[in-house]
Amino acid sequence: MRVQLIGFGNIGQGLARVLLEKEKYLEKRHGLKLRVVSISDISGTVVDEEGVDLKRALEVVEREKKIIGYPGEEMSGLEAIKTVDAEVVIEVTPSNIKTGEPGLSHMLAAMKRGKHVVTSNKGPLALEFKKLKETAEKKGVAFRFEASVGGAMPLVNLATEMLSGDEIYAIEGILNGTTNYILSRMTKEESPLELVLREAQELGIAETDPSYDIDGVDTASKLVILANAIMGVDASYRDVKIQGIRKITPEAIKLAKEDGYVIKLVGEVKNSHLEVAPRLVPVNHPLNVDGVLNVALLRADIAGDITIVGKGAGARETNSAILSDVISIWKNGACL
């Protein structure tokens, strides 16, 4: 099966590493031989119909920070999607919550050309889920995005495939590892947010501009994807009521703690209402997970409550979800 890799940053490189590691396993266990026929980043594209040498691609990017030195050509990801033959496009460019670009154009172009899309890119989905889903259906291609929410946690596929007879009527979750890390540390040490944030930045857990995480933008994007994909709610990022954790004080955390509660940044969908806000969570509640872990609670009408906990980020963990989506496309026989 031929795949195109659009985006070769943290996640893209992580996928290359996982593919090298799993090459034999994929063939033995699933009969799947993956050939990466093109890799694009902001500098250009490397194309090889016989399969790009992933080891070399990783070495080039490590050394030169861009793929064009492979050597590649000055071809954009969008052009590569339009001109290179492949069955699957893996879109892992950086997420943009304002415009969804360039990911949105990449995904739509791929679908229009009859290519299946696998992505971890939240922005386009949080803004234009319905359009993407409908385009995929119209063109008869698969559109899979397990990696966009909760990293390695098999959340979307669990709800839509394993629980397909259930109606999920509410979802609550901690969907951002950075804020969970910050709040967990604040709870443990009763330190102010600024201090813990600075340490998290030094450890590489938080970005230099932390607003995407601590202002709830990331959680809201993921919540929109879950609401659309699992509950069939036609919602966009703009519909989410958002409050971040910037104003949480150590005193508030202490008051909560004295009473048997912790403060967590929780995303909740219920009755088509989407809200991200710090919430009081009882210490013995399943949503009380520590550190960078993510957790989601699916409330199903037949199965009851189902809680799933896992690593919500990380290049390697996220690629577990990307790989499972690719394998699923392969197994569905769409590109034999």
């Binding site: 202490k254 008051l255 219920k270 509640h285």
Partner: protein, 169 residues
């Protein structure tokens, strides 16, 4: 709805059945019956009955009791009190904490039962934990709406508890 009914019965056989029959004949589900024998006065025994019944039938039960010459001393709906817990962050005292509490207490069926306040420094934002007793989900919703309105006005942050019934188990 759950009803609490106090009747005063003559201390002779057959009186209790006479009082309970109208409840069961109108489909009421009797939850408990307590004889307050220690309070017998003038040959009469107070009895406390708790039962569930569809609201429109309550009036009929009471009329029937009256027809049967049963003395009803007290009747009322039992509303289970629930505790709503919230945190507030901001200039809680400077923006008139008394007013915040009063405006919650103004809601029928709601009462601020406890307030714990932490003020790190007079000029810094303070934090408060508030326990509010509410007599049902509808009241709880009203309290949250009122709190959010106050928070907007006074530039406070409200941290709500997880949704009710979110057991996760």
């Amino acid at each position: 709805m759950k009803i609490s009914l106090d009747v005063v019965l003559k201390d002779i056989p057959g009186q209790l059945v006479k009082a309970l029959e109208p409840i069961s004949s109108y489909g009421g589900n009797i939850i408990s019956i307590v004889h307050l024998r220690e309070e017998v006065t003038g040959g009469r025994v107070p009895v406390h009955v708790t039962f569930e019944v569809e609201p429109p039938r309550l009036e009929k039960i009471l009329r029937e009791l009256e027809d049967r010459d049963i003395w009803v001393s007290k009747v009322g709906e039992v509303r289970k009190k629930e505790k709503l817990k919230v945190l507030l962050i901001g200039h809680i005292v400077d923006t008139d904490a008394r007013d915040t509490i009063d405006r919650i207490n103004d809601i029928k069926g709601a009462m601020v039962a406890d307030l714990a306040l932490a003020m790190p420094h007079p000029e810094k934002e303070s934090s408060a934990r508030m326990d509010i007793e509410v007599s049902g989900d509808d009241v709880a919703e009203k309290v949250i709406e009122r709190l959010e309105e106050i928070a907007r006005e006074k530039n406070l942050i409200v941290i709500k508890s997880l949704s009710k019934n979110s057991s996760g188990i």
